[in-house]
């Protein structure tokens, strides 16, 4: 939030020594994480990290370029299926397959970007939504891809070293996540990123200034799809089993929710959104085990609602949290953070 005095100051990865310090602390924490927590939390970290990749990619499209996508589960599915198929049928090593899967997803992103050139708002929403649901239907029809019965992921070996536990997989996921997040952060500071922002803020003005709309809009779609594709490839190995039903419209909606509730147009926002909402998504099922609250909810259900449906409180809580975030701060969690920071900086004045 400080005043920037030169261009180089703006594009620096670490604006100050303090950030270097915190980055080092964060890295050390990430390194030590699997040793500090039980295996279950490592699985959860993997799951969250993968969501971070998707949401950071989605943010490049939604937050920076101002396009809307309700079809990211489609790219995610393409990435997952492409990775497994390339490995088991074409014998690719994992990393090569993962990158190829990302590129295949990017190609689809480019194709989806073409009709998107003329669309905006609800029109674009429904077009991308259609893409997402169509992709899973098509995949479900291809017997080579296991159809609706799904596919098992092959064993994962990297450079002769097998990765078959969550802890081993963790480091791979984290390295990829950190690299992709840094890449996204840097892209936003380049010519490409500036072009994205210009398109978001006023696309006609941007075009008159010489920004090639066709190039940059399709590029945003492709880049965002690449992220989703890579994440999908990793997801296939976290679950070790995929089937088309996983990649439903609800997933696309969930991705968009994480991006928007986190805070569009920043890098930290989507990360915060992915962490908070994925954590809630995984943990809200335990809401009835919370002491006192759980008993009270059960009591309430028995008197006024139904005991068999008591788990649905999860939806109410999740929905209410979403509404609360958006009502109090349109910029999402990131906006809240900025406001808090500003407040304390000038405190007590």
């Amino acid at each position: 939030m400080d005043m920037k005095r030169s261009y180089y100051e703006d594009i620096r990865l670490f604006p100050s020594c303090v950030t270097v310090f915190w980055a080092v602390v964060l890295l050390a924490f990430l390194l030590a994480y699997p040793f500090l927590f039980k295996n279950y939390y490592v699985y959860m970290a993997n799951y969250i990290a993968i969501n971070i990749i998707v949401v950071v990619g989605l943010n490049l499209l939604v937050g920076y370029t101002g396009q809307i996508s309700l079809g990211h589960a489609g790219f995610y599915a393409i990435g997952a299926y492409a990775t497994i198929t390339l490995m088991s049928l074409a014998g690719f090593p994992f990393l090569a397959a993962l990158i190829c899967a990302g590129l295949i997803a990017a190609a689809f992103g480019f194709l989806l970007g073409l009709p998107a050139l003329r669309l905006e708002g609800p029109y674009l929403a429904i077009a991308t939504l259609g893409f997402g649901v169509t992709i899973t239907t098509i995949i479900g029809r291809i017997e080579m891809l296991g159809g609706r019965q799904g596919l098992h992921a092959p064993d994962l070996v990297i450079m002769g070293y097998p990765l078959d536990t969550d802890r081993q997989f963790y480091y791979l996921v984290m390295i990829i996540t950190v690299l992709l997040v840094l890449f996204a952060r840097n892209v936003t500071k380049t010519k490409v990123g500036r072009a994205f922002i210009a398109i978001r803020d006023a696309h006609i003005a941007a075009e008159t200034m010489g920004v090639n709309l066709v190039l940059y809009k399709t590029m945003a779609f492709a880049l965002s799809a690449f992220y989703a594709g890579v994440a999908g490839g990793l997801y296939a190995f976290v679950l070790r089993f995929i089937e088309p039903g996983l990649f439903s419209l609800f997933l696309s909606v969930f991705f968009l929710t994480m991006a928007v509730a986190g805070g569009l147009g920043s890098v930290m926002g989507p990360i915060a959104g992915a962490i908070v909402l994925s954590f809630l998504d995984l943990q809200l099922r335990n809401i009835l085990s919370i002491p006192y609250v759980g008993d009270w909810l059960r009591h309430l259900s028995a008197s006024y609602f139904s005991l068999t449906g008591v788990s649905n409180i999860q939806f109410i809580v999740f929905g209410a949290i979403l509404i609360a975030i958006m009502l109090f701060e349109p910029l999402g969690l990131y906006g809240l953070w900025i406001r808090t920071k500003k407040y304390w900086k000038t405190w007590p004045f």
Binding site: I126, G130, F131, R141, V260, T308
Partner: protein
């Protein structure tokens, strides 16, 4: 030939329930500029309330349906008044997330209250009886839905043209600031629009419920209604109904002649094609944003 006609008629029949959802969607888009993901659940809750009125309080079906429609009106107004209006400098994405949040809350509430059991709504007309025109069947329930969709569309048309409130709504949609300067309470107008939209959606829900009821019953019609509204241009009431019939007929012809597997998604492919040619749908003027 009979088969072809049957497909067209069936397509129109299913299109009618999409049309009702689409009408609700368009009303809200015109008022609040948000693709309303809570449209389905705004109808779901009243439908379950109707079920409760019949089963727990032993009232007649007509009383229950009337109660449901009144409740829907109230629910729509409340959602706008309590939640949507409170959004600070809303952008379209923020509003979408708010409607998704509302969708989850209402869906969670219905599933919590009523459980996941499958059930079915009592209805004065048997949902399995049908009439036949020259070898083409149409069930009476479908016929009723068709009539309801057309009547509501016409009703809304006249409402917007001739009633004071309708004109005020149109004014609010066209230019909110100017409307407020003319003494229209735009907030109240918006609130009522939400109420009307929920009521229209509830009509669709009540006509679907005699066949099957569960908490997720409105999701698919809502999506198809959204698709139909987009084809029609998102701001045009006749466009929405027309779009809904296109979606219904295309689905049925495709399912009958080409492939049943892709029937559920073919509508979206059609939309992408339509939008490639007319980026703002068939019935809306394409506004180019000024710099």
């Amino acid at each position: 030939m009979i088969d072809f006609l049957q497909m067209i008629i069936s397509g129109i029949a299913v299109g009618s329930s999409y049309a009702l959802m689409a009408l609700g969607m368009v009303l809200i888009y015109k008022a609040s500029e948000v693709p309303n993901f809570v449209q389905g659940e705004m109808a779901l809750l009243p439908v379950f309330i109707a079920y409760m009125i019949i089963h727990s309080y032993g009232q007649s079906v007509f009383a229950a349906f009337f109660g449901a429609l009144a409740f829907a009106m109230l629910l729509g107004c409340l959602l706008e008044f309590i939640v949507v209006r409170r959004a600070k400098n809303p952008n379209i994405l923020g509003l979408i997330i708010i409607t998704i949040g509302l969708e989850m809350v209402l869906l969670g509430f219905v599933s919590w209250k009523f459980g996941a059991d499958q059930r079915v709504m009592p209805f004065p007309i048997s949902s399995y009886s049908s009439v036949m025109f020259g070898g083409v069947y149409i069930s009476i329930l479908d016929l009723l839905t068709l009539v309801a969709a057309l009547v509501i569309m016409t009703g809304l048309f006249f409402f917007f043209r001739f009633s004071k409130l309708g004109v005020a709504m149109k004014a609010t949609q066209q230019n909110e600031t100017a409307a407020r300067l003319m003494g229209i309470r735009t907030n109240r107008v918006k609130m009522i629009t939400w109420g009307i939209s929920a009521t229209v959606g509830t009509v669709a829900g009540l006509l679907l419920a005699p066949v099957f009821m569960e908490p997720y019953m409105m999701w698919d019609p809502m999506l198809k209604g959204f698709a139909a509204a987009v084809i029609g241009g998102m701001t045009s009431l006749p466009g929405a109904v027309f779009g809904a019939y296109i979606v219904g007929i295309v689905e049925h012809l495709f399912g009958g002649y080409v492939s049943m597997e892709y029937k559920a998604v073919v509508a979206f492919a059609v939309i992408v094609l339509v939008l490639c040619v007319k980026p703002s749908g068939l019935f809306a003027r394409h506004y180019v944003k000024k710099v």
